[in-house]
Structure formats: structure tokens, C-alpha cells
């Protein structure tokens, strides 16, 4: 049977199958401080060694402060969790790009930028947004802590094969529409459970046209539609991005790898368990109004007035939490916080987008705008390009790398009741701090919101 991209990589990694379950080999295992300590303890309790420590990489990202990273972490529990990671990595001899390291950063930002993420791989991390790495044509997905321990102990997982879905977007994107608007649009159509049980491949001319950064933004949010992961067939854009990075294969091995990577695509007559087609022209700059990422509308659209009866209660609760009414437009709503960051949108291209818009402008008085780069490398690159000055002059605060207000595990919290236009991926109740009200959008929408101090139809602000 003609294989999909997913099938090809999956089949190449099956060690053994038992009925519906397969022992699947994992090429790269990324870990961070929040979901790894109990897994290390599990290993210790069972007296098991790490099976393939060289295929692991650790970083500290979720808890880290975004100011004064050279000082010890003030918050005691965060400090102890980060210290625990350092201790575990020392004890088990795992490579750690911890706080202060020039390669530290959000786990899903550093994997790709180091060239660790490559086409054809299986990649896991105790973190749902591991789907980001699928942008390279890899099978990448998030796992729970018990599974982290399993991979540590065996470099494998015992899992069943997901169903395959393809989402095709053809056509040219409208002005002001960026990669982030694609998942916000798709999820608004499919719902947060719309792809549960599936692994998604994104295809079509609009996807081909995306940069690697844009592809990562799209694949990153696959989990928000319930999918196990998302992926895009590797092409010249992918190869050009990977080539020359620290962990990328070199010389003859590069040629070998490239020859293999070029075989990674879905055969023309391969079938998917589910298919969706969208037209790029139907997609406008998006924003969310509710408390799950599926509650999105075009910026100049209206909050729906009707939802299915089973969702009615959640819908009302959600609007109550957000302080919005059915049928309302978001245009003109005052915004007091703008957060640009997270593994969805904290890469150099995102910072460039923001800087190029805000250059020579200034944020509105009523807004606090923070930009948290995804990694030390992004931060350094931004400084090398002078973006830090542009941002500072526009009144944006460029912080040090980490997850920050994406999940508010550190001190970067949005106050209760305040609205925050955020480039992150989740607008759940309390996600950015207890009572915080999150509106998800692209970095471009976020930048314009910061300058205007309210939600505007951005198409009128682009030249």
C-alpha cells in the first residue's frame, strides 16, 4: 500500500509489534525540569541505568526567571526544581543546556536551532508542544512522565499507531496573515478535540511557502486540535535550514542523510483516514475570544451567538470569564498586556516581524509589552541585528529566554481580570496567571495591538 510520510517514518522505527501495540524506537529525547524529576526517581527506584544517554538533551525553561538569570532563582520551589534537573543531569551524565549556558532556551526552540531536530526522526519530550519538531518531517510528540522514564530506560515507547489526517491549505495567504493565523483558523474549524487520535500532515502550496519558523509555529499548535502531532514533508527549505547547524550531519553523512530525507513524502496515492482542505484566501488575521484555542475568529469578525447545545454552558462560562458577550466585536477593546514569546512564536523571525513593525513607533501608554526570546541564541541574534535597540526605543521590554508568561510558572504573570494579547498557544483559564484573560494572536497582531493599545483591524495598519 502506498505510504504516507507518517507511515514511512513510523515503519522505520518499529522494533516489534504486538497486536495493536508497537515498540517504537525514539531517536531523540528532550527533557526539561518540570516533567523529568519523577522519571529520574523512577529509574533510581528500579535500579535502572539510562539506556542511551547520548540521545538525550536537557534544558531548563519552564520555571526560569526572565530577568537577572545570572543570579540564583529567587522563588524557592522553582529553584529547587531547576537544581534537581542539574543534579540529575550530573548524576546520569546527560548533556544539559541549563541556565547561563549559551544554548539554553525553550526546549522546542533549541532542538531545531541546534540542528538536533532532523527529518525522519522520532523525537519525544515530556511536553505536549513537542509537535513543533514535526515541521522538519519528523514524528515528534509529547509524552507523560511515566513515558519519559520508559524512554530513559529503553529508548522506546510501547504505543499504538495513530490514525492519519491530512490538512491541505492551497493558495496565497492574504496580506497580514502569518503562520500563526493558520492553526488558529484550523482549530476554530475543527475544535480542540477535532484531531484526537490522529497524527496530522500539513500540505498544500500555502504550507510549502512557509519558512521553517512558520512551519514550526503551525506544527506547534497541532496539539491544540487534539492531534498527537503534526508534520510537514521536508523539502529544500528544510534542508537549507538544517545544514551547517551544530548537530547536523556533515560531509559524507550529510549526503547520506539528504538522500534519505528526499524519500520522505506521502506517496501520491497514499490514503489518509481523514482529510481537510482549506483555501488560503478564506483565512484572515485571527484572534481568540474564549478560553480554549478553538474559540477563534477573524480580527474583524464577531463572537458567535450560537453554539451546539452541549457546548452552551462551557461557552457561556468562557465568555463570562473573558468579560465578552455573544455577537460582540473585539475591535476597539482596550488591551493592557502584550506578551510576545513561547515555543509558538519566540524565534528570530518573530522578533524581526515585531521589530520591523514597531521601528520608529512607540507602544501605547496603557500597555505593558514584553518580548521573551525562545533561546539564548535568539537573544544573541536579536542583539547582533540591533533589534534590541529598536524594541527598547518602542518601549518593549526584551527579556531573557524561557517559557515565561506562556504558562506563568515563574513570576511573569498577567494580573487577574487583565487582557493580554499573547503569541503563545493556550488561552485556558488562568494559564497566564490566576484570572488572567488571554487572547491568542500572531506576533504581527500583537505588535500592532501594543502600539495601538486596543484591538484593531490590522489590515488598515499595514503599508
Amino acid at each position: 500500500m502506498a505510504k504516507t510520510l507518517f507511515d514511512k517514518i513510523w515503519d522505520a522505527h518499529v522494533v516489534k509489534s504486538f497486536g495493536d501495540l508497537s515498540v517504537v524506537y525514539i531517536d531523540k529525547h528532550l527533557i526539561h525540569e518540570v516533567t523529568s524529576p519523577q522519571a529520574f526517581d523512577e529509574l533510581t527506584a528500579r535500579g535502572l541505568p539510562l539506556f542511551r544517554k547520548d540521545q538525550m538533551l536537557a534544558t531548563a525553561d519552564h520555571n526560569v526567571p526572565t530577568r537577572n538569570q545570572h543570579l540564583p532563582i529567587e522563588e524557592p520551589l522553582s529553584r529547587s526544581q531547576v537544581n534537581k534537573l542539574t543534579e540529575n543531569c550530573a548524576k546520569f551524565d546527560v548533556e544539559l543546556y541549563g541556565l547561563g549556558h549559551e544554548r539554553q532556551g525553550i526546549v522546542h526552540v533549541i532542538g531545531p536551532e541546534l540542528g538536533l531536530t532532523q527529518p525522519g526522526m522520532t523525537i519525544v519530550c515530556g511536553d505536549s508542544h513537542t509537535s513543533t519538531h514535526g515541521a522538519f518531517g519528523a514524528i515528534a510528540f509529547g509524552i507523560g512522565t511515566s513515558q519519559v522514564a520508559q524512554v530513559m530506560a529503553s529508548q522506546c515507547l510501547l504505543i499504538s499507531k495513530p490514525k492519519r489526517m491530512r490538512i491541505t491549505i492551497d493558495g496565497e495567504l492574504r496580506r497580514g496573515v502569518t503562520a500563526k493565523d493558520l492553526p488558529l483558523y484550523i482549530i476554530s474549524k475543527l475544535g480542540t478535540g477535532g484531531a484526537t487520535g490522529y497524527f496530522v500532515e500539513y500540505a498544500g502550496s500555502a504550507i510549502r511557502g512557509l519558512s521553517m519558523e512558520g512551519r514550526m509555529t503551525l506544527c506547534n499548535m497541532s496539539i491544540e486540535m487534539g492531534a498527537r502531532g503534526g508534520m510537514i514533508a521536508p523539502d529544500e527549505t528544510t534542508f537549507a535550514y538544517v545544514e551547517g547547524r551544530p548537530y547536523a550531519p556533515q560531509g559524507e553523512r550529510w549526503e547520506q542523510a539528504l538522500a534519505y530525507w528526499r524519500t520522505l513524502y506521502s506517496e501520491p496515492d497514499a490514503t489518509f483516514d481523514s482529510e481537510y482542505h482549506f483555501d488560503a484566501q478564506d483565512i484572515y488575521p485571527m484572534i481568540t475570544y474564549g478560553t480554549n484555542p478553538g474559540m477563534g475568529i477573524a480580527l474583524n469578525g464577531l463572537i458567535p451567538t450560537e453554539v451546539s447545545s452541549s457546548e452552551a454552558v462551557s461557552f457561556q462560562n468562557s465568555l463570562k470569564y473573558m468579560g465578552f458577550a455573544p455577537g460582540e466585536s473585539l475591535l476597539g477593546k482596550e488591551i493592557n498586556y502584550v506578551f510576545i514569546g513561547s515555543c509558538t512564536n519566540s524565534r528570530i523571525e518573530d522578533l524581526r516581524t515585531v521589530a520591523s513593525y514597531v521601528k520608529g513607533k512607540h507602544k501605547a501608554q496603557n500597555v505593558e509589552a514584553i518580548i521573551v526570546p525562545g533561546s539564548k541564541q535568539v537573544e544573541q541574534q536579536a542583539i547582533a541585528e540591533g533589534l534590541d535597540k529598536v524594541l527598547a526605543e518602542a518601549g518593549f521590554e526584551l527579556r531573557e529566554p524561557g517559557c515565561s508568561a506562556c504558562l506563568a510558572m515563574n513570576e511573569d504573570k498577567i494580573p487577574a481580570g487583565a487582557y493580554c494579547v499573547s503569541t503563545s498557544n493556550r488561552n485556558f483559564e488562568g494559564r497566564q496567571g490566576p484570572g488572567a484573560r488571554t487572547l491568542l494572536a500572531s506576533p504581527l497582531v500583537a505588535a500592532i495591538t501594543a502600539v495601538e493599545g486596543r484591538i484593531v483591524d490590522i489590515t488598515q495598519y499595514l503599508n
Binding site: L21, V34, G142, A153, G226, L407, M409, A416, R426, R431
Partner: protein, 198 residues
């Protein structure tokens, strides 16, 4: 992992759809480095005011309800991969969650924690929620070996699906690590076949 065979208990209704892992256990409570104690902060922001006083209208604080099963709205456990969500439910005394849809990662995490994610149809879920809300003393019986959920008040047994291997694991308290570690030879042999790759 504790063994799971037959569970006979009352249930707590939580008729909210799309309950995400940030609601089950907010990120700021994920800083512990052991598995225990997360139950205290289960549904933290729904259960307590910002001052820490219990909110009387939340089901878990309602003296009418009790038991080891949570009956929750559709699409339970979406969001993050944090196994802490399953640990928090388990730590708070839940042995099973009934819903009409579970997010993939949550389902796997629950099974690895010894917490049964029991999936029923939308229709059965609605009947269960109504039943438990009207009569909180309603007993539910989960028979794992038989894969049935029985509501004696209805005189009805409902079959539920579960992967046969996962079922064995739950019944016997086994987990995947033991299984995988026993496959090491096959895994090492597999590695030699693609040594060039990475």
C-alpha cells in the same frame, strides 16, 4: 502501580466540556519533584477563591457528592502532557474518570497512573450526569475484567472499550517499563540496522 479490578462507588459530577489540564492542576503547582501531594491542588482555581477559601458551588466542595469516580463533560484532559493531572486526580482519591471523549496524552497518562479513563457515549454520559446530580447516592460499579460499567439503579450494564494489554496492566498493577526493559536485546539489535542514521 495499584491493581484495579472492581470498583463500586458513588460519583462526583462535573458537567463541563473541554476540561483542560491547566484546570485540573494549574502550572504554578507543578513545582514538586515527587509524585505525591498534587491532589491538594486538584481543580485549584475552581475549587478555591484566590484567598484559599473553598467555593461552595463547586462539585468537589459540595457535601452532597462523594466517591471515587469523576463524571466529566466531553473532551476531558486536553492541553498539556503533564502527568501531574492524572496524579492529582489519583491523589485526590479518584480511581476512574468517566467522559465521552479523552485527550490522547491524558488517556495514556491516566492508564500509566492506575486511573481508569472510562469512555462512554455522549448519551450515556448525559444520563449518568443527570442521574448522579439527581441522586448523589447512586452507586456505579466498574468491572474491569468484564469491561462493564453497571448502574444498579438502572438495572443496566454498559460495555466499555479498553486496549487488552492496558487492561492486563491495570488489573495486575504492571507498567510499561518492565515490559520495555525486557525488550532490550531486540532494541539493541534494531539499533544496529540503522546505525548510519544518527
Amino acid at each position: 502501580m495499584e491493581k484495579f479490578q472492581i470498583l463500586r462507588t458513588t460519583a462526583i459530577p462535573l458537567p463541563i466540556e473541554n476540561i483542560d489540564t491547566d484546570q485540573i492542576i494549574p502550572a504554578r503547582f507543578l513545582k514538586a519533584t515527587s509524585r505525591e501531594g498534587f491532589g491538594e491542588n486538584l481543580f485549584r482555581d475552581w475549587r478555591y477563591t484566590s484567598e484559599g477559601t473553598p467555593k461552595a458551588d463547586f462539585a468537589l466542595n459540595n457535601a452532597r457528592y462523594g466517591g471515587h469516580i469523576l463524571v466529566a463533560g466531553k473532551n476531558f484532559g486536553c492541553g498539556s502532557s503533564r502527568e501531574h493531572a492524572a496524579w492529582a486526580l489519583y491523589d485526590a482519591g479518584f480511581k476512574a474518570v468517566i467522559s465521552s471523549y479523552f485527550a490522547d496524552i491524558f488517556r495514556g497518562n491516566a492508564l500509566n497512573t492506575g486511573l481508569l479513563p472510562l469512555q462512554v457515549s455522549d448519551e450515556v454520559l448525559q444520563r449518568l450526569l443527570d442521574q448522579v446530580e439527581q441522586d448523589p447516592q447512586t452507586e456505579l460499579v466498574v468491572n474491569l475484567p468484564e469491561q462493564t460499567l453497571t448502574v444498579p439503579a438502572w438495572g443496566e450494564s454498559i460495555h466499555f472499550d479498553l486496549d487488552p494489554y492496558k487492561k492486563e496492566c491495570l488489573i495486575n498493577g504492571y507498567d510499561d517499563i518492565d515490559f520495555l526493559v525486557n525488550q532490550k536485546e531486540a532494541i539493541a539489535a534494531y539499533e544496529t540496522t540503522r546505525a548510519w542514521a544518527y
